[in-house]
Amino acid sequence: MSRSRSAPVLFAALGDPTRLRLLRRLSVDGPLSITRLSEGTGLTRQAITKHLNTLGNVGLVRHARHGRERVWELDRRRLETAKRYLDQVSAQWDQAIGRLKAFVE
């Protein structure tokens, strides 16, 4: 499955109060069903599903099966990827700085 993960698409996905509220709930309460996520929003399950799919397309949430129930949860891989990438670039700078040190001292 190809996903749009560029920053503008990500920001567009985040630029909606309902979607931000859904993300906040998933990060506080953990995996939740559509029924639970729809409660108190005044929106239909279909409308909530549409918002969750938008978040899913940029890799922020995913749906999973917990027992017999289908739930939505935060997809932490996105953040992990970003962190692990930075660790690698960081290690490269450390090596370059080591060579610079040997060069000027």
Binding site: R5, S6, A82, Y85, Q92, D94, K101, F103, V104, E105
Partner: protein, 144 residues
């Protein structure tokens, strides 16, 4: 933790003028960075170079003698078969100060990673893993 920037700080036991030359002189920069560059650094200029088998392009932003040097480039990974021209660049900034007790305090900041497509960032692990697999193969060939 920020996923957008890296900051490094090091104290070098060398005068500022020496450290400045190692950073602002393209030939010296290339020596320790392991790049072969095609010209001198000047603000607004694009300097091209090679590192192993991939191409590097540095867009020089600002030069303040013995104090500050910055440029933009496409960060790691650099796959020779791919064109990065359309992708956002990161900003690299070198700041020099006198260190307490002598020597030069150098700060390096690279920022703008959050604008790099996540797929590209994920690729770094694959390339790194392949790199290691290659190293282990070389080693295996060497010892057997």
């Amino acid at each position: 933790m920020s996923t957008d920037r890296i900051e490094k700080r090091v104290v070098l036991r060398a005068p500022r003028s020496r450290v400045w030359r190692a950073i602002s002189d393209a030939k010296e920069f290339g020596t320790w960075f392991r790049l072969t560059l095609d010209g001198a650094f000047a603000a607004g200029k694009t300097v091209r170079g090679r590192h192993d088998n991939f191409k590097v392009e540095m867009r020089i932003e600002r030069i303040e003698p013995e104090r500050y040097f910055s440029y933009r480039w496409h960060p790691y990974p650099k796959d020779p078969a791919k064109d990065y021209a359309e992708e956002p660049m990161t900003l690299v900034e070198f700041t020099l100060e006198d260190a307490e007790g002598g020597g030069t305090a150098l700060t390096i900041v690279e920022s703008g990673f959050d604008r790099i497509p996540l797929a590209r960032r994920a690729e770094a692990f694959r390339m790194n893993t392949e790199g290691w697999a290659g190293q282990i193969k070389n080693l295996a060939g060497y010892v057997s």
